[in-house]
Amino acid sequence: MPMTAAAIQIENLTKDYPTGFLHMKTKRSLESLTMRVEEGEAFGFLGPNGAGKSTTIKLLMGIIFPTSGSARILGRPISDVEMHKDIGYLPEQPYFYDYLTAAEVLDYFARFYNFSAGERKIRVEKMLKKVGLETAGKIQLRKYSKGMLQRVGLAQAILHDPKVVILDEPMSGLDPVGRREVRDIILELKSEGKTVLFSTHILTDAEMLCDRVGVIVGGKLQGVGRPDEIVGLKVQGMEILFEADAANAKNAPILAKAAKSGSRYSLRVPEESLYSALEELKALGAKIASVAQIKPTLEEYFMHLVTKDRAQATAIEVHGK
């Protein structure tokens, strides 16, 4: 992707929460986060629960305030509320005024963008249709399921055609059909050239939708890159698939290391031992089917980080005041 202006620029963003009796202690839930999301890219923010994803997003949206550091969206500081005209935001597990209908809540939010009554009506109808709620628009939200509220949340986030869309766990609470629809909406936003930042712990969604991902664990950013780059950072070894005549090679030590499936063997060796292993197999008269790098999936990478840093997966207690 060509380097363009950053849609979201975060520098050394840190957030401590006061805890304990009389708030004498603090817990750090985000530590010196520095990253940028380019204009027009779909960026996945990955991490387990309590990793700091929602904290980062809330900081960006001005719901909470940073202990230190700064962030800019579309070149403007996050303290600038007028910048929200160009941003759409879906909170995690969104909840709206349950005495309003979906159409009313969207109309209410649309008022903050100074649309005329006619334009509001058109936009509301369009959004309800887009998120599959056109037949439920006149039902009060108190009767909505979690998945339906999530759809309303998505509708209000993109109602005003924002340049940057920030979605906190957009797939949460959705059934497979709903997830598919949200994925399609994110892809559509991406194709329209919008910048999409979304947090998730569902890795397949990130692999499927994102240009780049950032992995955060214990409030610390562990890595940023394309999904394949992230997993490609560490080649774990080589996998050789081969067929061999067991009668000829039953005493060969290399076969003891291989896993057999049907007539085919699978052998995993360190990268530097590849050629010696191939020589051995050649000597046995084995027929090589394929040789491939063993890369961790994004999920394995993710789990590796989480396991490694389990102690820090929740916020870190840093110091007393």
Binding site: G88, Y95, Y97, F109, F112
Partner: protein
């Protein structure tokens, strides 16, 4: 301004749909029944009793709504996280607060207006006619509304930094203290030491002074209220509300939401 209006309108709509305003129908019916009953047992002073009873009821119901809904205006939005999506819109926190205040004051205006209509209907039922002296009742109702607006502002301020229960206690405490402002200023001659008298005198100027808003006796007896008092009370309520809302905005603008 349109943002404040939008929040205010939504707050009003919430109150209507939460059926808060339905109490006024009940109140109006109660007033009619009370008027008939009182008219039968208190010969000669029935209208005085109806006015006193009616204004007291309007004041108490208004205060209850102001305190109990006022303290929930902000905290409910935070607890239910409805505020998250709203603050992501181009709306400043102080605009949200002022809109919430305006919405509840609008609700209370409609509520108080309807209850006042009930009071006038009762009076009409008993007296069979209304005269110029009954206009004082309208002024008394207006003063109740100003008083209630100050209470809403105080409830909003406390709900910005404390729990609903504490906000109710603080608001109610300030309201009660505000009824005794004159006594606090006139402690000379009592056994209280001069230093304490000075402290109480200072506090009395910070506390909301609700004593000037009470013209129920004048209204019940059809006595005129001086025009200057109307101006003074209006200016006092507007300035007091503005100061309290400014303080609430400062507190709320720095608050980390959950």
């Amino acid at each position: 301004m349109s943002r404040i209006f939008s929040v205010a309108l939504n707050t009003f709509r919430e109150a209507v749909r939460d059926r808060v305003l339905y109490n006024l129908v009940f109140f109006a019916l109660l007033m009619m029944v009370a008027a008939i009953f009182v008219g039968q047992i208190s010969l000669g002073i029935e209208s005085t009793i109806i006015v006193s009873l009616g204004l007291s009821a309007i004041s108490i119901i208004g205060l209850l709504i102001a305190v109990f809904i006022g303290v929930g205006l902000v905290s409910k939005e935070i607890d239910k996280r409805t505020l998250y999506a709203l603050l992501a819109k181009p709306v400043r926190r102080w605009e949200f607060l002022v809109g919430k205040f305006g919405g509840l004051v609008l609700t209370l205006t409609v509520n108080t207006g309807a209850m006042a209509a009930g009071l006038f209907l009762s009076l009409l039922f008993v007296k069979h006619s209304l005269d110029g002296s009954d206009a004082t009742i309208l002024i008394a109702v207006y003063f109740i509304l100003l008083k209630i607006a100050i209470v809403v502002a105080l409830a909003l301020l406390f709900s910005c930094f404390t729990s609903q229960l504490l906000a109710i206690l603080f608001t109610t405490g300030l309201y009660v203290a505000g009824l005794f402002v004159h006594e606090m200023r006139n402690l000379s001659g009592s056994k209280v030491s001069p230093a304490v008298q000075v402290i109480f005198s200072w506090i009395s100027y910070i506390l909301p002074n609700f004593e000037n808003f009470n013209v129920m006796a004048a209204a019940a007896h059809g006595k005129a209220v001086p025009g200057i008092l109307i101006l003074q009370n209006t200016a006092y309520a507007v300035i007091y509300c503005a100061i309290v809302l400014a303080a609430a905005s400062v507190v709320f603008s720095r608050r980390n939401l959950k």
